[in-house]
């Protein structure tokens, strides 16, 4: 079993199923369809750029939320639940499109990968917004054994669906930060964005 099934916090699941009850009542009637592989609960990680540049790398990345997938005739959505100041969860956003589709489609493909058969991995989502990098993060017991699979659109030479070792991915992320440093030099007006 290369990908370890994990349980989301109960409060997060309650908010997810509450959203389904409200927005997708027919799906709740079909409770037998709830399986780990369909909802694919996963953590969302953010990482400090200064950590990536240093030896810390991704070892101190933070969990900012939990997501759960839902698929019906309209497509797949990722329901993101975020913990509030007092420990309560709420539905932060419902995300859909190419990135969510790719994350869902990767799961059965990665389960069959030879490279992933020797260890157990947690299926997670890495979001490096300022770098414009998002990836499936396959977390092993130690960070050096992790793998990353970039999600589209991909920049900095990253390839969609390609499995990157921790060292390879960290190296590209560091180059991306250097590129961002160059780009931020050109910010000279408060109405610019990129």
């Amino acid at each position: 079993m290369p990908i370890r099934q994990i349980l989301a916090p109960e409060k997060s699941v309650v908010k997810y199923t509450g959203w389904l009850t409200q927005r997708k009542p027919k799906s709740v009637q079909l409770k037998r369809t709830f399986t780990y592989e369909k909802a694919l609960p996963h953590k969302v990680y953010h990482a400090q750029l200064s950590d990536i540049l240093s030896e810390v790398g991704f070892s101190q990345a933070d969990v900012v939320s939990w997501r759960h997938l839902h698929t019906d005739q309209h497509g797949t959505v990722a329901v993101e639940t975020k913990v509030g100041k007092r420990g309560q969860y709420h539905v932060h956003e419902v995300h859909s499109g190419h990135m969510v589709d790719a994350l869902k489609e990767l799961y059965p493909v990665l389960k069959k990968k030879k490279e992933l058969r020797t260890s157990d991995y947690e299926y997670s989502f890495l979001r490096l917004f300022s770098l414009k990098i998002c990836a499936v993060w396959l977390r092993a017991d130690s960070r050096e054994a992790d793998f990353f699979v970039p999600l589209p659109p991909c920049f900095y030479g990253l390839e969609q669906d390609k499995l990157y070792t921790y060292a390879e991915f960290t190296d590209i992320a560091r180059k991306a930060i250097q590129t961002l440093q160059t780009k931020t030099d050109t910010y000279d007006h408060p109405m610019q964005g990129g």
Binding site: D62, H92, S96, Q192, G194
Partner: protein, 198 residues
Amino acid sequence: MPAKKEKKVSLNFTMQHQLGHAMCWAAVGTSCALFYDPDSKWTQCKLASQSIGPNTGDCCTNPEDSPCDIVWYLQNDENIGSFVTAGIARGYEKGFIPYKKLVGELDAGRIIAFLLRMDIDGTINNRNEFSHFVAIAGYEWTDSEENVTIYDSFFGKSEMPYKEFVTNYKCHGGTVLGHAVKDSLVEYTFFSTPTSTP
């Protein structure tokens, strides 16, 4: 018991993927221009190179890392930017607009764009923020909710409460990685309008 009030509007809008990691302004401008006039033939590289200047160079062969893959504008105080070049600019406001005003724009069939200023997750070159353009092309309100549909040229589509969007888009407001950031992420709101083929 009074009937539950609710209304949903979803404009037939498609957001293109941005072609370079800094080209969200070109993707938003092109996508909005094609929404108003599908025959306008705008592309991101064409719109970007025309918006930046007459001698920008080749932005189409390899948009990423081209002279167009830079931070730029939808519209600025000198009337420069992708909305202006595409002929769809209709002014801007500092900060975010009230939900009712946003609903009025969408009811009239007009896309609203926003410039978000967010935490960079660290500090590089003495900067701790970056800016990113997105568009809103739909809403759904009920007695208890005021939701919007956000189109992002990097992430795709998101539905979330408007209040959450302006303060905490992609978990980049409130508290980020252990430190508090400012309450509103929205620096500017941009209005758009249909136009004729360039």
